[in-house]
C-alpha cells in the first residue's frame, strides 16, 4: 500500500473520529484484505480470520473517538501522522486477536489440510511439485512457530511494515524489532530444517 493511501485513510479516520462516518467504506476497501491475510496467517482459519476482520472494523467505529488522541500521541513521538492510522489499526487488530485467543484457548489447532490446500492453491505453470512441497513445509514451519514470533514475521514479511512501524505497534524500538526478527527467523529455520529431515527420512 503506498504512502498516498495511508494519507487518505488517516484523513478519513480523522473525519470519522469527528463524526463524519462517510469514509468508513473506503477504509474498509483499502484495509480489509491486508487485515484478513494478517489474521489468516495467525489463525489458519478462513471463517475466524473473516470474523476478526469484521470485529476490527466494528471496533474502529465503536472506538473512533480514541483515534485523534492516539494520533496526537503518535505525532509527539513520530512526526509521521499519516502512518499513525496503520499503527492504530494494527493495535486494534492485535487486541481483537488477543481477545479471540483468550476465548478459544482450549480449542484444537486447525488441521494441516487447510494449510496444505493453501500451499497448493492456484499453482502456476512454473511451480514444480518439489517447490510446492517445499512451500508446504515452510507453511507448516511458520504455523509451528510460537504465536508472538509468528506475528512478528507476519508483520515484517507479509504486511509490508517497516521495523519502525512494527516498533510503534508493539511498543518497542526498531532496533529491538530487528533483533527479534532475526531470532524468529532462526527459530523458523530450525523448525523448517527439522521438518525437511523428517520428510526425507
Amino acid at each position: 500500500m503506498d504512502i498516498a493511501s495511508h494519507d487518505t485513510d488517516h484523513d478519513r479516520m480523522a473525519a470519522v473520529a469527528r463524526g463524519d462516518l462517510s469514509g468508513m467504506n473506503e477504509i474498509y476497501r483499502n484495509r480489509h484484505r491486508p487485515l484478513f491475510r494478517f489474521f489468516y496467517r495467525l489463525t489458519n482459519r478462513q471463517a475466524t480470520a473473516e470474523d476478526l476482520v469484521h470485529e476490527v472494523f466494528l471496533r474502529m467505529i465503536r472506538y473512533r473517538h480514541t483515534y485523534q488522541a492516539q494520533v496526537g500521541q503518535a505525532q509527539e513521538t513520530d512526526r509521521d501522522p499519516p502512518h499513525a492510522f496503520e499503527a492504530w489499526m494494527y493495535r486494534i487488530a492485535r487486541n481483537a486477536m488477543a481477545d479471540h485467543s483468550r476465548k478459544h484457548r482450549n480449542e484444537i489447532a486447525p488441521g494441516e489440510g487447510e494449510l496444505e490446500s493453501i500451499a497448493s492453491a492456484r499453482p502456476t505453470p512454473f511451480e514444480t511439485a518439489a517447490k510446492r512441497q517445499d512451500l508446504s513445509l515452510l507453511h507448516r514451519a511458520l504455523r509451528e512457530l510460537p504465536e508472538d514470533r509468528r506475528e512478528l514475521l507476519i508483520l515484517a514479511r507479509f504486511q509490508g511494515l517497516s521495523y519502525e512501524r512494527i516498533g510503534q505497534i508493539l511498543g518497542c524500538q526498531a532496533g529491538t524489532v530487528k533483533g527479534r526478527v532475526f531470532r524468529a527467523m532462526k527459530e523458523l529455520g530450525s523448525i523448517y530444517s527439522d521438518l525437511c529431515r523428517e520428510k526425507a527420512s
Binding site: M24, Q46, E50, A119, Y163, G179, G189
Partner: protein, 269 residues
C-alpha cells in the same frame, strides 16, 4: 562489528532498511565470521522463500456481512458526495426552481397551505381511508420486524432491527423484542444494532432496567461499551450498581473499564 550487531544488520538488510555504511560493515564482518556468514546465507534464502507463500483471499461473504452491518449500524454512512449530479436531478431541479426572495418563498408556502386545506376539507372520507392505510402499513411493518427478529440467520435479525427504525412509534412488543435481543442474541452485531435502535425508546418503561440487567452477563467489550454509553446518555442513576459490578470484573477490557469509570463519575454527580 560485533556478531549481535551483525544479526540486527542482517534483519535490516532482508527488509531493505540497511544504510550503505551498515551494509559495508556487515560485509566486512561476514568475511571474518563464518558463523554469521552461514546464518546470512541460510536465513536470507528462507526470508526470500517466504514471499512465495500464496496470499489467502477473503470470501465474498465478508463483504456482504460488512455491507449489512454498515447499513444497519449507521444509515448515515452512505456518502452524499458520491451521488452523481444525474442521480440527484430532482433535488437540483427543485433548487433551481426555488426563488431566492423571502417574499416569494412565503407566497409559495401560503399557496401550498391553501391548496392543502382545500383538498383536505373536500376529501375527508379519503383522508380517513389514508389514515387507515397508514395504520395498516405500520402494523405490517411491526409484524415484519418482529418476524425478522425471530429468524435463525443473524443477517435477517439485523434486518429486523433495522426495520424497527422505520416504525413511527415503537410499540411495547417491539421494545420488548429489542431488549430481548440485547440480552440474549448470540450475534454481537445484532446486540449492538438493537442497542442503537433502542436509543429512541430510552423513556419507555422497563427499557433502562432491562439493559442494566443485561450488563453483568455481557461478554463482548463492544456491547459492554455500547451499554455503558447508553446508560450514561439516559443518565440512569439506577444503573450505578451494575456499573460498579462491571468495573469490578477482573478481566474487563481496559477501554471498557475506562468508559465505566467515566460513566460512574457522570452518574454519581
Amino acid at each position: 562489528m560485533m556478531c549481535s550487531h551483525a544479526k540486527e544488520s542482517m534483519a535490516a538488510g532482508w527488509q531493505r532498511e540497511i544504510t550503505a555504511d551498515e551494509e559495508s560493515a556487515l560485509r566486512q564482518h561476514l568475511e571474518t565470521c563464518p558463523e554469521c556468514s552461514a546464518e546470512m546465507a541460510a536465513l536470507g534464502g528462507l526470508w526470500d522463500r517466504l514471499a512465495d507463500l500464496p496470499a489467502p483471499e477473503p470470501s465474498h461473504a465478508l463483504h456482504a456481512r460488512w455491507q449489512s452491518t454498515i447499513e444497519s449500524l449507521a444509515p448515515s454512512l452512505k456518502p452524499v458526495s458520491r451521488i452523481s449530479p444525474l442521480r440527484n436531478w430532482p433535488a437540483n431541479l427543485f433548487a433551481n426552481f426555488w426563488p431566492a426572495s423571502p417574499v416569494w418563498q412565503a407566497a409559495i408556502a401560503l399557496g401550498c397551505l391553501l391548496i392543502g386545506l382545500l383538498i383536505g376539507t373536500n376529501l375527508p372520507r379519503r383522508n380517513r381511508e389514508i389514515a387507515q392505510l397508514h395504520e395498516e402499513i405500520a402494523s405490517t411493518r411491526e409484524m415484519v420486524a418482529l418476524s425478522l427478529l425471530q429468524q435463525q440467520s443473524a443477517t435477517e435479525r439485523l434486518r429486523g432491527v433495522d426495520y424497527t427504525g422505520h416504525l413511527q412509534t415503537m410499540e411495547p412488543q417491539v421494545v420488548s423484542a429489542l431488549t430481548d435481543a440485547v440480552a440474549h442474541d448470540p450475534s454481537v452485531n445484532v446486540r449492538l444494532a438493537a442497542i442503537d435502535a433502542l436509543s429512541k425508546a430510552s423513556g419507555k418503561p422497563g427499557v433502562l432496567q432491562s439493559l442494566t440487567q443485561s450488563l453483568p452477563g455481557e461478554d463482548s467489550p463492544m456491547v459492554q461499551a455500547a451499554l455503558v454509553d447508553y446508560l450514561v446518555e439516559a443518565h440512569d442513576r439506577k444503573a450505578l450498581g451494575a456499573l460498579r459490578q462491571l468495573a469490578a470484573q477482573p478481566d474487563l477490557n481496559p477501554a471498557v473499564l475506562e468508559r465505566t469509570h467515566f460513566a460512574l463519575q457522570q452518574l454519581s454527580r
